[in-house]
C-alpha cells in the first residue's frame, strides 16, 4: 500500500497537481495574480467567486490552447491567448449576469479583470503551449485551486479582523473593534507579504540568484 502511494507520487499527473497546489503555487511561488488577491480578498464571498471564475477561465483556456498548440503560429501566440481568454471571460460574465445577477453585481468590474490575471496567460504560455491536453487540464486546475485557496485564507483573515464576520455571519463578539486598515489595500499588502513569507518558508522556495 505504502509503496503504491510512493510510486504514485512519482507519476507526472501527481507532480503537476502538487506543483500547482504547493511547490509552484501561482501566488506564493510565482507571485502572479497579486493584484486581484489584494483587491477582492476583503470579503470571503468575493474571494470564492473570483477563485472559481479564474479557475474556470484558466482550465478552459489551457485546454483550448493545448489542443490547438500545433496549429498556433508562434508569432501570434500571445494574441491567440488574449482572444481565447477574453472570449471565455465574456462568456462567464454574461452567464453570471443572466443566471446569477446577485453574484455578478457583487463582483462588479472584477469579472472582466480576470482577463488581465497573469495566471491565466502564464499557464497558457508556460505549460499548455508545450504539453498535451490532459496534463494542461490538470495543471490549470491545480493552479486555479492553488490560487483559490490562497484567496480564501487571506480573505478569511481579512474579513474576520476587518468586519468581525465570515461570509457575513458574525464570528467575533459585538464588542470587537473592526481593523479598518485590513479592509483597505495597505492592510492587504502587509497581510499578503506575511503570507508569502510564511508559505515560502514552509514550501522551501529558494530565491533565484
Amino acid at each position: 500500500m505504502f509503496k503504491k502511494i510512493k510510486k504514485l507520487t512519482y507519476t507526472r499527473p501527481f507532480r503537476i497537481i502538487i506543483n500547482g497546489l504547493w511547490k509552484d503555487n501561482p501566488i506564493f511561488c510565482m507571485v502572479l495574480g497579486i493584484c486581484s488577491s489584494l483587491a477582492i480578498t476583503n470579503r470571503v464571498e468575493n474571494a470564492i467567486a473570483m477563485g472559481l471564475g479564474v479557475t474556470f477561465v484558466t482550465v478552459a483556456t489551457s485546454v483550448i490552447i493545448s489542443a490547438m498548440r500545433n496549429f498556433i503560429p508562434s508569432r501570434v501566440r500571445m494574441i491567440t491567448y488574449m482572444v481565447v481568454i477574453s472570449t471565455f471571460v465574456i462568456c462567464v460574465d454574461q452567464f453570471l449576469k443572466a443566471f446569477f445577477p446577485t453574484i455578478s453585481e457583487a463582483m462588479g468590474p472584477y469579472v472582466g479583470l480576470i482577463i488581465t490575471n497573469c495566471i491565466v496567460m502564464g499557464r497558457a504560455e508556460g505549460f499548455a503551449m508545450k504539453n498535451p491536453v490532459v496534463y494542461s487540464f490538470l495543471d490549470a486546475l491545480s493552479c486555479g485551486i492553488g490560487y483559490t485557496y490562497t484567496l480564501l485564507i487571506i480573505s478569511i483573515i481579512r474579513e474576520i479582523l476587518a468586519f468581525g464576520t465570515i461570509l457575513r455571519y458574525r464570528v467575533m463578539p459585538q464588542t470587537w473593534t473592526n481593523w479598518v486598515a485590513l479592509a483597505m489595500a495597505p492592510g492587504a499588502f502587509v497581510l499578503l507579504a506575511l503570507y508569502l513569507w510564511i508559505m515560502r518558508t514552509l514550501a522551501k522556495v529558494e530565491p533565484e540568484k
Binding site: 477582492i40 476583503n42 470579503r43 468575493n46 494574441i79 472570449t87 452567464f95 453585481e105 468590474p109
Partner: protein, 190 residues
C-alpha cells in the same frame, strides 16, 4: 510568404470562431439579462417605498401599488399615499452609479434609497451599496442639501455617516445625489 498567409488565415479563423461564440452567447442571455434588470428595477422601487413582496410576486405587487407617470420627459413612480420615487444616476469615483430614491409626500425627506449599479472598489467604495450605509438616509432632509460626513459623526438632520476608506466615493455619491434630486424636483414642480 507562406508563413504570413497561414498566420493571417489563423487569426481570421480564430477571430470569427470567437466572435461567433460571443454573438451566440449574447443572443442567448440577452432576454434573461433584460428581464433581470427590469425585475431588479421594480423590486428596488418596491424596496425604497418599503412595500413588501415575494420573489415571484414582484410584477403583480408592483402593478397593484405603484403608478408610473411621466412629467417633462422624466419618469416618476408614485404610490397611493403620494410618495414619489425616481431613478438617479451620475459618475462615482471609478464608474457610473445609478439607483432609485423615494421621497416622502412632503418632498423634503427621504423615504428610502437604493443603488442599482456601481463600479466602486469592492469592500471599500463598493460598500455604498450595502443596506447598512443606505438605511441611514431614511428620513434625512434633502434641503438645503444632503451631506455625507466623512471625518466625524453625522449630527444634523441632513447628514449621514460616510464610509471609512471611501472618502472620494462618498463625495461623488453626495454630489450626484444632490444634483439629481434637485433636477428631478424642479422637473416635478414645473
Amino acid at each position: 510568404m507562406k508563413e504570413k498567409i497561414s498566420i493571417i488565415l489563423f487569426v481570421i479563423v480564430l477571430g470569427s470562431i470567437s466572435s461567433g461564440l460571443l454573438v451566440g452567447i449574447n443572443s442567448w442571455t440577452k432576454p434573461k439579462v433584460i428581464k433581470n434588470k427590469e425585475l431588479k428595477l421594480k423590486s428596488s422601487i418596491l424596496d425604497v417605498f418599503g412595500i413588501k413582496y415575494e420573489k415571484d410576486t414582484i410584477e403583480s405587487v408592483f402593478s397593484q401599488n405603484i403608478e408610473t407617470f411621466e412629467k417633462n420627459g422624466t419618469v416618476f413612480y408614485r404610490t397611493k399615499t403620494n410618495e414619489i420615487a425616481f431613478k438617479y444616476s451620475g459618475s462615482g469615483l471609478w464608474g457610473p452609479i445609478s439607483g432609485v430614491i423615494a421621497l416622502n409626500p412632503d418632498l423634503d425627506t427621504i423615504k428610502g434609497i437604493k443603488i442599482l449599479h456601481q463600479e466602486e472598489t469592492p469592500g471599500l467604495g463598493g460598500r455604498i451599496a450595502e443596506q447598512e450605509f443606505l438605511s441611514q438616509f431614511k428620513n434625512k432632509k434633502i434641503t438645503p442639501k444632503l451631506v455625507i460626513v466623512v471625518k466625524e459623526k453625522a449630527k444634523q438632520e441632513n447628514e449621514v455617516d460616510g464610509i471609512t476608506g471611501a472618502t472620494m466615493t462618498c463625495k461623488s455619491f453626495e454630489e450626484l445625489l444632490n444634483k439629481d434630486i434637485k433636477e428631478h424636483l424642479e422637473c416635478l414642480k414645473k
